[in-house]
């Protein structure tokens, strides 16, 4: 067993592989989601610089704003790993603190996204204005939906921690699986921030 394994409450959790079912399924889901996001990123890159109508990316991107939101999401990933470490130690107070912090930072990121989208719409960029609008909003909108689902998941975990024996060290796998999803959302944004925002000013 790995050095990161923690006790499993339900013995039926472990399958013929010797590893927890739910963790294997989450990794399978993340692998498929990886392919899903890569197809959206590929579509954006294929149609990059093919728009004939304005506005164009270099005219409306706000790099300082997006950099701040990227940093916020990165820090939320840090808080998520602290959340898992806290529940593995059995520190319920710290678990609730870091879990609420992760959800809060995720909400801040969503707020930045909503502000950015409304600014772009006011500037004339919509789903149907040009090919850049279509590919950009589908890609970042899908990512935003993933973040929103993650925030709801974390809020649910936070609320569930107040139920007697709701979140315990024996159930740390629940938190770990939520953490895997949240970290995946973060690494997708790492790729999107570089390929969509930063590369626009380089090539």
């Amino acid at each position: 067993m790995s050095s990161h394994a923690h006790p499993i409450e339900n013995p039926h959790e472990i399958g013929c592989t010797g590893y927890p079912h739910r963790k294997i399924i989450m990794w399978l889901f993340l692998a498929s989601d990886c392919m899903f996001f890569m197809s959206l990123i590929s579509t954006y890159l294929v149609y990059r610089n093919r728009s004939t109508a304005h506005p164009l990316p270099e005219e409306i991107f706000d790099i300082p704003l997006t950099s701040t939101s990227s940093f916020v999401l990165l820090m939320s990933s840090y808080l998520m790993v602290l959340t898992l470490a806290a529940i593995e130690r059995g520190d319920l107070f710290k678990f609730r603190l870091w879990c609420a912090g992760t959800a809060f930072f995720g909400s801040i990121f969503l707020g930045f996204q909503i502000y950015e989208f409304s600014h772009f719409v006011n500037a004339g960029l919509t789903l149907s204005s040009n090919i850049f609008g279509s590919t950009f909003f589908v890609l970042t909108g899908t990512h935003g939906c993933h973040v929103a689902i993650g925030v709801l998941w974390l809020v649910a975990l936070f609320v569930y921690s107040f139920v007697p024996n709701g979140v315990t060290p024996a159930r740390a796998l629940d938190v770990e699986i939520a953490g895997l999803y949240w970290h995946f959302v973060d690494i997708v944004w790492i790729v999107i921030f570089t390929a969509v925002y930063l590369m626009e000013y380089i090539i």
């Binding site: 093919r50 790099i63 593995e88 130690r89 770990e176 000013y201 380089i202």
Partner: protein, 160 residues
């Protein structure tokens, strides 16, 4: 909780904090590429720096925050298979659809007549079937005579 477990927990927190600080620094460097003095460097340097830092951040989060480094290899294999398929598909798609623009001044601009001829040829299947702008029999159709860049440009003008 025992003192040993406390120490292990605290060392994990310290480790995660160091990783988070390093990731923050990498993000700051990525943004700094767009401003002086890094912006004055060559494109190849800037692209390499951005791609390299993104890869490092990606690997750090996957290996350390998602615990793949410490977990059984099965999880790495599952995620790695999906990731390799994803990246391979992306590279193939970009390679297949990449169009190299011709040198400036070597390709005459598309006229409205050219676009109407393309629409006619597509509507009547191949160029000789009919229509007001059909190509006479014995000649290559207008679509056949376009190179890949002209065809891509014409497709965008016709369909967007």
């Amino acid at each position: 909780m025992s003192e040993h477990e406390d120490n292990q927990g605290m060392s994990a927190v310290v480790r995660y904090t160091i990783v988070a600080v390093v990731l923050g620094i990498f993000t700051a460097i990525e943004v700094a590429v767009l401003y002086p003095p890094l912006v004055q460097q060559g494109d190849l340097f800037k692209i390499s720096l951005l791609v390299g830092l993104s890869i490092l951040k990606f690997v750090a989060v996957v290996a350390l925050f998602m615990h793949l480094w410490h977990d059984p290899f099965l999880y790495t294999a599952i995620f790695g298979a999906g990731f390799v398929l994803a990246v391979g598909t992306m590279v193939a798609l970009i390679a297949v659809t990449s169009v190299h623009p011709p040198a400036p001044g070597t390709v005459p601009p598309m006229t409205e007549d050219d676009i109407l001829r393309i629409q006619d040829e597509r509507r009547h299947g191949g160029g000789h079937g009919g229509g007001e702008h059909a190509t006479p029999a014995g000649e290559h159709s207008f679509l056949d005579r376009l190179d890949s860049y002209q065809l891509a440009a014409a497709t965008m003008q016709v369909s967007l």
